[in-house]
């Protein structure tokens, strides 16, 4: 078990290196630089600004410096804003994470319930109804759903703020918008997994033992039926808690997503690389958690790994 974790963590160092290199090279390959402006600026001032960040050094030298700083855990300074990348992530990532976690709660809470119910009552009107809702959740993008919710609930009814998080009420609409995106997928995956699980031998055994149907479904079948969802949850959690740019934009949530997207347009090299690396680490860790969760959920996987 320990060896498994160590091996995975070592592999993740390679992943981070590749991600850092790729983001560095790709953004430097894009035309223009961070200090391009449509305002008037003399050559002397332009040079001074580029020198401050060593931008006129060779690409190899900049790359080397970037990697050396990364090895020390220093992600550098933003070239466009008065902030270090470490501070930027520390400030904005928790906001994204909280909103994402609430969205995840909505998605898992409703999605799992819907999926199990649909599988249990398969091919009935309940099943069709729930899956229709799931389909809508998958199909309606957040940039349609978000403004729709704002227009009706905030502007029309005046129940909730149209944007910003200035109190608990501010979390409601973003969490719903984010959650509905994932709810559909989770519901459908759960339904599929449950259908398969409900047909397996151990379920028949459980039923034959005379266990109540509720225990069979929720305690025995769900553990196996939920496995596809768990696989999906790794990347989904990473995406949710690292910040959905679209939802953060619509609801003006000061999360990491906006910093990330702006850094591309502004050619803010350190921010882009730094946030990219942060995302990579997050994804690697969450995938590790998912793999560990399989073992916890399914004794067969645990044995195979040992």
């Amino acid at each position: 078990m320990i060896r498994f974790i160590v091996r995975r963590l070592l592999a993740s160092v390679v992943v981070v290196f590749v991600v850092a290199s790729a983001s560095f090279l790709l953004l430097h390959a894009a035309p223009g630089g961070p200090f391009d402006t449509d305002q008037r600026r003399s050559a002397a001032v332009q040079r001074a600004m580029e020198d401050r960040y060593g931008l006129r050094d060779s690409l190899a030298a900049q790359y080397g410096r970037e990697l050396a700083m990364l090895a020390h855990g220093d992600l550098g300074r933003s070239m466009k804003r008065d902030v270090t990348v470490n501070d930027l992530i520390a400030q904005h990532a928790p906001v994204s994470a909280l909103v994402g976690a609430l969205g995840l709660l909505v998605a898992i809470g409703l999605g799992l319930g819907m999926g199990v119910l649909a599988a249990w009552r398969r091919n009935t009107r309940t099943d069709y109804g729930l899956m229709a809702v799931a389909l809508v959740g998958i199909s309606v993008p957040s940039f349609v759903l978000g403004p729709l919710l704002i227009a009706t609930i905030s502007i029309h009814l005046g129940w909730l703020p149209p944007a910003r998080i200035d109190g608990p009420a501010g979390y409601v609409l973003p969490a719903i918008t984010l959650g509905l995106l994932y709810l559909g997928t989770i519901a459908r995956l759960t339904r599929g997994g449950m259908l398969e699980a409900l047909g397996q031998d151990f379920v028949r055994t459980a039923r034959a033992k005379g266990l109540p149907e509720r225990t069979v479904v929720w305690k025995h079948a769900l553990r196996i039926g939920v496995q596809p969802v768990v696989t999906y949850l790794g990347p989904a959690t990473a995406a949710l808690i690292s910040g959905s740019f679209v939802v953060e934009k619509i609801f003006q949530i000061p999360g990491l997503g906006a910093s990330f997207v702006d850094s591309i347009a502004e050619r803010d090299y350190p921010v882009l690389t730094g946030v990219f690396v942060f995302y990579a680490v997050l994804l690697v860790l969450l995938n590790l958690v998912v793999d560990l969760a399989y073992g916890w959920l399914d004794p067969r996987v645990r044995e195979a790994r040992a």
Binding site: D36, R77, N86, V144, I150
Partner: protein, 716 residues
């Protein structure tokens, strides 16, 4: 994406908005809290450091936090602030400001002329890399100081006495920095005159520092009584790292190592116009300036080379290389705002954090939640205790137009900054849809022009360029931009003449029915009326294109490419509109949308035929803000236009003290340029703001610098 979501909300909202005089909710009297002014700002400030910020989002906040010699009045013109009186020399080259005695930093220390001078020294220091350094370009030595090409002689070299200001005589970069220093003992960095025990940072013996300035100079703090000169040094952080370095004072004698002493320089005295301290009007020929060889030990980079002098703590004198009639407009610029040296020294890159910031303006910062908001409070140390009527300014940071409009609609903010309204909302707000505009929607002129550059290196034929300009009926453009923009074939922007106040009409020498715009420079007094330009004329366009075809023959371009930046529906619509108009002349134009930085890179490389662009002015002056773009060989001259006749007229305008005569010359120059058609002006930008009816004294001005500290909330 933004357009989609904004459009959706607009469509949903507009079809069922209650019929009201105001857009959205107006809180009732008892709901209003006059102690708090809530303002929706667009984007997070890039920085609150007056030397480092360059964003529209930060500008009004920086002006509220840091006092200037003058500051922005309601109309955007400078009004006295830190300076109460000033004098201008006859030749418009020397400007003396007298400071009030009762100004205080939030730390309690008095604000002095040295703080203003330090701001200028810091902005022109290469290490600071201030994007605002060019705003001080009129100062003697400013541009050369930024590029480290100007020095002061520490001892006599050749014919030049010690103290002479010299410049690098070779076009190459300087061979190194003569200001590198080391010390054989640890350096205890501290405030000027403080004991070593009060040091806040230490530089290890042998480590290199850069000498920034010494005490007792023309513009630097006086040397403590009974001591030798102190040195202000900088210990750098690694480039790009989170370590921003540190500054501090040490007794000058402690800097006993000079790593650059043997470097070889070739220098000569600076031109007379650039020589600081030369206060007489310049006449006669330039005396010879022989080039001499000097070493690093002979030279020092020093603020003494800059045209700034502080004769006493409440007087500051600026000297410019050229006559500068618009000098007063520099004094409210962020580049000349005061900077608190003690705070900057300790944390050069994060001294504006709320727990460290030291301010001198009417407001003080207490919180900055990045990408979320800022809290500013009335400064208890400001010299005019009654200036700010509210206790707290809550800045709501918004970076989506639809969200900003929605927040205003639900009364989450009392007013918005300019141009946060999505274009899809504008037909609702300006009355196009319901027949009457909302009373809280204000549209005002902005000192900015939207135009298309023509790359004169590629589109060399003057007739072809003129044809392109004549072909455009600009009056149609505001119908798809919706923001009350002013269609214009004139390059220098201004207020539509039809909307001028009667006193301004007289100042401009025009009648109400004169077409076009005029730039009011001083209300009721001074005005610039740009020449009419190549307004829409189909026959003229046909004529010019025929001439171009005759001249170019087979070389007549098969296609031209027009570049614009992606992401805005308006840029795209305008591009397509121009394309259609040019197609009617038989000129085939392909459109290329690219991201903004890519477009700028193509512009710099000359990799375009026609490119959409915009230019905003900081000062109500046609020459310094707009004509300067078209001078031969300047870096901002993106279309590479060059006409010596144009440059000559501008040169002739420069020394004219009579501003009307100067304007006439500039107008002549603008006419020469616009007739050559290196540029196709399309419209004058507008500022669109939403302001609740109970907000008083919140007005935007042509340079988009609303004095936030003057606003207040009227409780009925």
């Amino acid at each position: 994406m933004r357009a989609t979501s904004a459009g959706l909300v607009a469509a949903l909202a507009a079809c069922s908005l209650p019929d009201s005089d105001y857009f959205g909710r107006v809180p009732a009297g008892d709901e209003l809290d006059p102690r708090v002014f809530r303002w929706c700002n667009f984007n997070d400030p890039d920085s609150l450091d007056p030397a480092l910020t360059s964003s529209t989002a930060a500008s009004p906040l920086v002006s509220a936090l840091f006092d200037g010699l003058t500051t922005y009045g309601f109309d955007g013109n400078p009004v006295p602030s830190l300076a109460t009186t000033w004098e201008t020399s006859e030749d418009l080259r020397t400007f003396t400001f007298h400071l009030r005695g009762d100004a205080r930093w939030s730390s309690g220390r008095a604000v002095t002329a040295y703080d203003v001078a330090y701001g200028a020294i810091r902005v022109t220091d290469q290490v600071t890399a201030s994007p605002n350094a060019d705003n001080l370009a009129p100062f003697k030595g400013a541009v050369a100081t930024v590029s480290r090409r100007v020095f002061v002689l520490r001892r006599a070299v050749g014919p030049y006495a010690a103290g002479t200001v010299v410049e690098l005589a070779t076009p190459a970069d300087p061979p190194g920095d003569p200001n590198r220093r080391t010390a054989s003992r640890d350096l205890a960095l501290r405030d000027l005159g403080a004991p070593a025990s009060a040091a806040y940072a230490t530089v290890a013996a042998g480590s290199e520092v850069a000498l920034v300035m010494t005490s007792g100079g023309r513009a630097t703090l006086p040397t403590p009584a009974g001591a030798a000169a102190w040195a202000y040094v900088y210990r750098a952080g690694a480039p790009g790292s989170g370590d921003g370095g540190v500054y501090g004072w040490v007794p000058g004698a402690e800097l006993d190592g000079e790593p650059a002493a043997e470097l070889a320089f070739e220098v000569r005295r600076v031109a007379r116009a650039d020589e600081p301290g030369l206060l007489v009007a310049l006449a006669g020929d330039e005396p010879p300036r022989p080039v001499v060889a000097a070493h690093g030990r002979d030279l020092v980079r020093s603020p003494d080379a800059l045209g700034v002098r502080v004769p006493d703590a409440h007087t500051i004198v600026f000297e410019t290389a050229q006559p500068t009639p618009f000098f007063l407009s520099i004094t409210d610029n962020r580049a000349l705002r005061t900077a608190p040296i003690e705070a900057v020294s300790r944390a050069p890159t994060h001294w504006t954090d709320p727990d460290r910031i030291v301010t001198s303006g009417p407001l003080h910062l207490t919180a900055w939640r990045h990408r979320d908001g800022l809290t500013l409070v009335r400064s208890p140390t400001y010299w005019d205790p009654g200036a700010v009527k509210y206790e707290r300014l809550e800045v709501l940071t918004v970076d989506d137009q639809a969200a900003a409009a929605n927040l205003y609609y639900t009364a989450a903010c009392d007013a918005t900054t300019a141009n946060v309204v999505p274009s899809t909302y504008m037909p609702v707000l300006n009355g196009e849809q319901r027949g009457r505009p909302y009373k809280d929607y204000e549209v005002s002129t902005n000192l900015g022009v939207y135009f298309a550059w023509i790359n004169t290196k590629r589109v060399t034929n003057r007739h072809l360029r003129r044809a392109l300009a004549y072909a455009i009926d600009r009056t149609a453009i505001p119908h798809f931009t919706h923001g009350g923009e002013v269609a214009s074939a004139q390059l220098t922007p201004g207020t539509p003449i039809a909307k001028l106040a009667p006193a301004d009409l007289a100042a401009c020498g025009v009648t109400r029915d004169t077409p076009g715009v005029a730039l009011v420079m001083t209300a009721g007094e001074l005005c610039y009326v740009p020449p009419p330009g190549l307004a829409f004329d189909e026959a003229a366009a046909q004529r010019e294109v025929a001439l171009a075809r005759a001249e170019l023959g087979d070389a007549f371009p098969k296609t031209l490419d027009y570049r614009y930046n992606a992401g805005s529906e308006a840029h795209k619509q305008i591009a397509e509109y121009l394309q259609a108009a040019w197609a009617r002349l038989g000129i085939d134009v392909t459109l290329t949308a690219e991201d903004f930085n890519a477009m700028l890179a193509d512009g710099r490389a000359g990799n375009y035929d026609i490119m959409r662009f915009g230019q905003q002015g900081n000062v109500a002056d046609a020459e310094s803000e707009f004509m300067v773009l078209f001078r031969c060989g300047t870096p901002d001259n993106r279309g590479a236009y060059c006409n010596p006749a144009f440059d000559k007229l501008l040169d002739e305008a420069q020394p004219l003290r009579d501003r009307r005569a100067r304007n006439a010359k500039i107008r002549e120059a603008e006419r020469v340029m616009i007739e050559d058609a290196p540029v196709i002006p399309l419209y004058v930008y507008t500022l669109k703001t939403l302001v609740k009816p109970y907000v008083r004294d919140y007005h935007n001005n042509v340079i988009n610098q609303p004095p936030l500290w003057r606003a207040w909330i009227a409780k009925p």
